[in-house]
């Protein structure tokens, strides 16, 4: 049963890569994904089927937020690089991730690295993310608020 979830999530990737929906290719894909599923360590968390639609919706929302952040990030860093005076005030700021889950901390660290002008340098045992910012002079409340929003959205995805 636990192999099945890995197979269900991996098979679309294989089919997208091969761009071939014939039955023989489906069988090869199923065998390959089964092989990968056997190699992977067993998942600790169990999947709650009733919550799956809500989690997928939250995931979609999260991806859209990430895309918007990525575009803003690209434009902002490009503007800084292209302006003649190079307006940067760099520094490393501690942002608590607000969760004990390793997966949630890792995902918020990824999200932070996508947001404009921020890059996670180090994470400690308590889940505090030490973030390098291009503009460290901004007020801290805004950063904490953004992290709380990310955290709420992430909790809806992984529970």
């Amino acid at each position: 049963m636990r192999y099945l979830w890995v197979m269900i999530s991996l098979l679309p990737v294989y089919l997208a890569l091969t761009a071939n929906l014939e039955v023989s290719n489906l069988i090869v894909g199923a065998l390959l994904t089964l092989f990968v599923a056997v190699l992977l360590p067993p998942m600790q968390r169990s999947i709650n089927v009733a919550r799956l639609p809500g989690a997928l919706l939250a995931l979609l929302q999260y991806i859209i937020v990430l895309m918007i952040e990525l575009i803003r990030s690209g434009l902002q860093v490009a503007r800084i690089v292209l302006s003649p005076s190079l307006p940067i005030r760099p520094g490393i700021i501690a942002i608590p991730s607000g969760t004990n889950s390793e997966l949630a901390t890792a995902l918020s660290a990824h999200a932070i690295s996508v947001t404009p002008g921020e890059l996670v340098v180090e994470i400690d045992d308590q889940g505090v993310m030490y973030t390098h910012c291009l503009d460290a002079s901004q007020p801290e409340e805004a950063r904490l608020f953004a992290q709380r929003q990310r955290h709420d959205l992430l909790r809806r995805i992984i529970q």
Binding site: A109, E122, H132
Partner: protein
Amino acid sequence: MQPILELIAILAVIGGTAFSITGVLGLVRLPDVYTRLHATGKVGVFGVVLLLIAALLLTPLGLGKGLVLIVLLLIGGPVTAHALASAAYRIRIPLKHALRDDLAETSEPEP
């Protein structure tokens, strides 16, 4: 439909090239490792993604392959930037013009 797709592809090529050039400019202009990673890790990835979108529309790459590549790049880009920044901090490469450094206060003194 075909001309519209081609127009989008051409815009994506122009945008992707512009962002890639900006990434390289950032690599040259910014003062230290950490700030340079902002330029290459974000602007660079953004440029490559735009070029990939153009490749999707103009070449027989295949929609699925291109989308998988874009997703992998978007996941991998920030992770690479983080890994490089973390490694740089661990071998104690100093920050330049830093306003503050919260990490320096918590990490243990040098042996």
